[in-house]
Amino acid sequence: MQALLSKTTKPFLVYVLIILLVSVPVYYFVIKVIWMGELDEQNQIMAKTTEAQFGQLAIPENELKEKIRFWNQIQPGTYVEAIAPGSTVKDSIFTASSQSLNLADKTNDDFRVLVTTIYINGKPYYFRSVTNYEDTKETVAAIAIVSLFFFGCIIAGLLVINNRLSKTVWLPFRDTLSKLKGFNLNNQVQIDFENTNTIEFNELNQSLNRLVQHTVSVYKTQKEFTENASHELQTPLAILKSKLEILLQSDELTEKQYQIVEEMNKALARSARINKNLLLLTRIDNSQFDSSALIAFDTVLMQSLDMLQEHFEQKNIRVITSIAAGVQAKGNSDLTEVLVNNLLLNAIRHTAPGGSVHISLSKPVFEVANEGQQALDPALLFKRFSRFSADNNGSGLGLSIVQEIGRFHDWKVQYRFENSFHIFSVYL
């Protein structure tokens, strides 16, 4: 993972580097061609001037040889030598080292050479003009150094500019991002994206706005649906229940029919419970509960235990408690009661008669442990309507509610299996 900035900067830098590397030989080549042309022209001019100067002087023939020797001495760049009358020297332009030319200059520099024929007093003479040009390596090195310098300038510039841009141009983007990060569908709070003058970001914000609005409204509708459906079901359930009870009072009822009514009553109680639990889950999801009360957790637990004691006794379950006094927690007392009841009822339901249940409450953790055969899958345990036992009496929502209440309060709810005990822990 890379930041956007380094992602865009890197190709830029690579591109610049390539261009600069390619430019070095190109520079070198171009400069060389121009330079050679200039030098060759210089040599030509030299030949012309020499010829013209000798012509102007009109030196008598006998002195000419002496003068040419003198010329060659004071003008080391040129060399004039008599050749047989009527013959000419083939014109040539080439590059040669100082050694091959036997020059006094002993450096290993390269020279540009022009060999041609000039005419003095109507006689042909061999003429050679030699001009030094800078060593190739030095030229390339110089160009490379200059290029590198500019490359450095470009990198520094790019980094500085990009940094600036990221702080200003990308500011709205960062703002949008941080708002999205803070968005929680459950809070039902709309996001207001700030207006920017960047077309792309404005488009992004508009699209996000539409998306968020749509999601929030769909979510809301869904929740309202669950809540309304549950509410709407209460009335027909109430009618059914009342009719069954009137049926129960009928004088002609046989014992068999009474049993049927009883079974129906039980099923009805279960559907009413599922309905109520669904409603409760929705309302926890909607955060329709106040969570600022200070709850005496130990008192809530003792009350629940007191209320459920006869059911423990009924199944002959040994209850071993270790409850610290004065354990308090911040939250909603009704939900806390539901959480405690659900965990205790869960233990009653799933402990075999004659088994034992350990209940402990200390400062950070409330634990209910009941005897069991084998570990259960914690991923499925808290899932809505997933069942592990053959007993189908429950609503299938009890532990989901425990988990939701935990989440609502920021209490961690955990399950583990240890020494043949199912242990549910709530970290307050």
């Binding site: 009335t235 009618i239 009870e245 009072q249 009474y258 419970r273 309302r283 059911h311 009822l345």
Partner: protein, 225 residues
């Protein structure tokens, strides 16, 4: 005794009326807000059953009107909403009880019984039923001036039976009444039997007749006058 049932769901209202009529209550029905307002204005009731969500108004406004007119009718809110806020609001506005749908008619009858007795006899809260004398406020029972010591649950159960006298109360109904919200989560309802056995024994020992009868194997009823 007169009971007004304010409930827009006719079938439910009819069931309630049918069940209560056998209990010698005179029931009147109001299916809407306006009808209800007219009735409470004109008549005095011993108990009003009030559904909060009415098609043409909010049931809580009926409660407000009752309070304004200083009427002392007992009010039980019956609502599909199991919302604590509604419950607290309703009770603060002067309702005497709050029952969430779906409920058992026997549960409703027992609550009506208690409310009417509490309201009617104000200070001298003694209800006579067969050989029993029941103090509704102090929650004590005596037979021939001899107190019968009942636990809270046993007393509660007794009032439930007396509030539904001569009615069949099935085991599951009794379990729901006793354990409140979570009877259906218990796979065994035998705890009902234990409480009834204790209650029967205590009443017998005090010299009370055999009024608690077993019906259809697992149901019970209070047979009395």
């Amino acid at each position: 005794m007169k009971v007004l049932i304010i409930e827009d769901e006719e079938e439910l209202a009819k069931s309630i009326a049918e069940y209560l009529s056998a209990e010698n209550y005179l029931c009147e029905l109001a299916t809407g807000f306006t009808e209800a307002m007219n009735k409470i204005h004109l008549y005095q009731y011993d108990c009003i059953l009030l559904d909060i969500t009415l098609p043409d108004g909010n049931g809580l406004q009926v409660l407000e009107a009752l309070k304004k007119e200083n009427k002392t009718d007992g009010v039980i809110i019956i609502s599909a909403k199991n919302s604590l806020d509604d419950k607290i609001n309703g009770l603060q506005m002067g309702a005497d009880d709050y029952l969430t749908k779906p409920f058992h008619l026997s549960e409703l009858a027992a609550r009506i019984y208690s409310i009417i007795r509490r309201k009617q006899f104000n200070n001298a809260n003694i209800v006579k039923q067969d050989e029993l004398e029941i103090d509704m406020l102090a929650k004590t029972v005596s037979v021939q001036n001899q107190p019968v010591l009942l636990t809270k649950k046993e007393f509660d159960l007794l009032i439930f039976f007396i509030g539904n006298k001569n009615r069949v109360l099935s085991k599951s109904i009794l379990a729901e009444h006793l354990s409140g919200d979570f009877a259906d989560m218990l796979d065994n309802h035998d705890f009902v039997y234990a409480h009834i056995k204790n209650l029967k024994k205590k009443l017998n020992d005090a010299g009370c007749g055999q009024h608690l009868k077993t019906v259809y194997g697992t149901g019970y009823k209070w047979a009395g006058n």
